[in-house]
Amino acid sequence: MALRLEYSHDDETHRNFLNGQPVVMHSHHYLALITKLVEDLADMSAPEILRDAVEDTMRAVFDDYIAKNGLTSAQDRCNVGREYFSVFGLGKMVITGDENGGEIRLLRSHVDEGWVKKWGVHNKPINHFTCGYVAAMFGAAFNKPARSYVVTEVASIAAGDSEGKFIVKTS
């Protein structure tokens, strides 16, 4: 499946849209600093807030695409998230699994590589963003409600591993 991409621009507001969803450009500095902010605010459960915000908003994007394109197979539905990940400039992932869980290999990662560019290798995984993203992807693939999946980052490019790895389990 190849994701159908339709970019548009509102000439009055000058907002940009991808498949009807308002989108905006930022750089790795932005996501690296947002990631650092949530790390610094861990006592406020900020990493979980970021994960959940990513899960909820990405899920809406995936569900919208899936509904508009009439996708029914779990594989096609899952591929929506995988392909969007690259379209958003977030990197490249390989997915294995079923509705009971799975594993994601992150071959390239905007968040991790951005962190390393900015601050060098870290002493632990930091990719809360992708944890939320993967939870949304599995939820959309298997038509499960939000928070149906718990995603744990067990290998991290930001922490010096050659690729990232995320384990997905049902909650």
Binding site: R15, S27, D40, M44, M58
Partner: protein
Amino acid sequence: MTVMRDTVVKSLARVTVQADENGLIPEYEVLVNLLPVALLNTFMERIMAAAPPERKAEVEAGLVRAAYECGYHTGCGIITSDIFNEVVLPMVTEGEKDILRGAYAAFTAWGWAKSGIVQLKEAEKMVIRAFDYYEADSGGDGLRGFMLRGLSQAFFDLAYADPYPDGMDTFVCHQTKGIEAGDPYGEFIVVKK
């Protein structure tokens, strides 16, 4: 000739970014991402809501800082990019003033904020008005233009502080009006720190 805003906006609005075979978007000397506005606004509101009153300023400062550093580093890449050289630089006759005018045309064209400079005292003060910006949709209480605050501070630093990368944190930007607070436009004032 000075920077003709409409010409710049029209030219830059046609520019789209596309990921490479690795799913990355290396542009303007940084890695670019293209994210749903709803994600950025949802995160901002949830983290602000989670902060107790005594820590809201800390969270707000962190959000502005993210936009500021993004704006400072990416901004340098933008104003030295081929597209900026091609579209904006031929119209620059008033130095930094015109670079800033071009930068706000770029902000507008790329959907960050439909914004422009209404007052500029070189190296001292700048007033910006924004008639559309995505953070105005966030649904939160109070002024929420954290991104445009950070970007405005960053570009004034790039224009008038020490040359990149030594000019950080020379100026500061305050938001004085916001569409999200019921005003007809957002207003942002940059002054010396």
